[in-house]
């Protein structure tokens, strides 16, 4: 399959790969997986006290499109409020990366991951 240049760029130079301390009260962790292809994605956000995402990290084991989708979304969410981040749509990711229809599910995974990270952060804060 032919990957778009943007996918290849993110795949070869993934942004923000890494791990944050998930015990940190300001860190939200989203773990998602796609059983059909066996891809696993971890997306973490560090949130400031006024609710802005200061930093984001990811680690994805999966195909090029899944890696590119999560890499792109970590770039996007930095500087966003939690609300803005949870409103991000997979279609925007798919469009930016020019994902073919069979790879749309990779962008869905990234959307689910950011939603899960925001939910995890909010749950931590509500305790």
């Amino acid at each position: 399959m032919a990957y778009s240049e943007k996918v290849i760029d993110h795949y070869e130079n993934p942004r923000n790969v890494g791990k944050m301390n998930d015990k940190d009260a300001n860190v939200g962790t989203g773990m998602v997986g796609a059983p059909a292809c066996g891809d696993v994605m971890r997306l973490q956000i560090k949130v400031s006290d006024d609710g802005i995402i200061e930093d984001a990290k990811f680690k994805t084991y999966g195909c090029g499109s899944a890696i590119a989708s999560s890499s792109l979304i970590t770039e996007w969410v930095k500087g966003m409020s939690l609300e803005e981040a949870s409103e991000l749509k997979n279609t925007a990711i798919a469009e930016e990366l020019a994902l073919p229809p069979v790879k749309i599910h990779c962008s869905v995974l990234a959307e689910d991951a950011i939603k899960a990270a925001v939910a995890d952060y909010k749950e931590k804060k509500s305790k």
Binding site: M31, P35, A36, V40, K59, Y61, H105, V108, L109
Partner: protein
Amino acid sequence: MMDISKNFFEFIGLPVSFDIDQSELADRSRELQKTLHPDRYAHLSDREQRMSVQYMSFLNEGVATLRSPLLRAQYLLLLQGIDTESESSTPIAPMFLMQQMELRERLEEIPDQDDPYAELEDLLAEVEGMLKTLREQFAQDYREGALTAATEAVRKMQFLEKLVVEIERLEDRLDG
């Protein structure tokens, strides 16, 4: 004559079950191959020859499906209307995902270890152990008609089978 509207189990002549006798599967497939082989129909009409080719490919797909525990489990669910192969994002237990992440991180670090082959073997044994447990789990859930639990077991198997592929890929890379 053979009927390809039957499911693979019925076509091959085995009970619809996860627990199948592999030697019986091999015997049945050999017998069917003999009766269905296109060369036996060389004297027949084009239409009959085409049908025999169709039967052969149905048989081959059926044997491959029933031979593999994962494909067999997926197929049993498919017969119940559950397609675990084309669903995209499905909520998976976070603990299981965490464990999958850790296993993959471990695999990633293996090339830097002192004895990568030993580490790889240990990891593979561990993953195969998990798969064995899941197969037993699936067999029991399926027998009891607990399809939700059976489906969850298959989804987990899909993650682990993918990991086995990755382990084998690294093994090839280390060899090469």
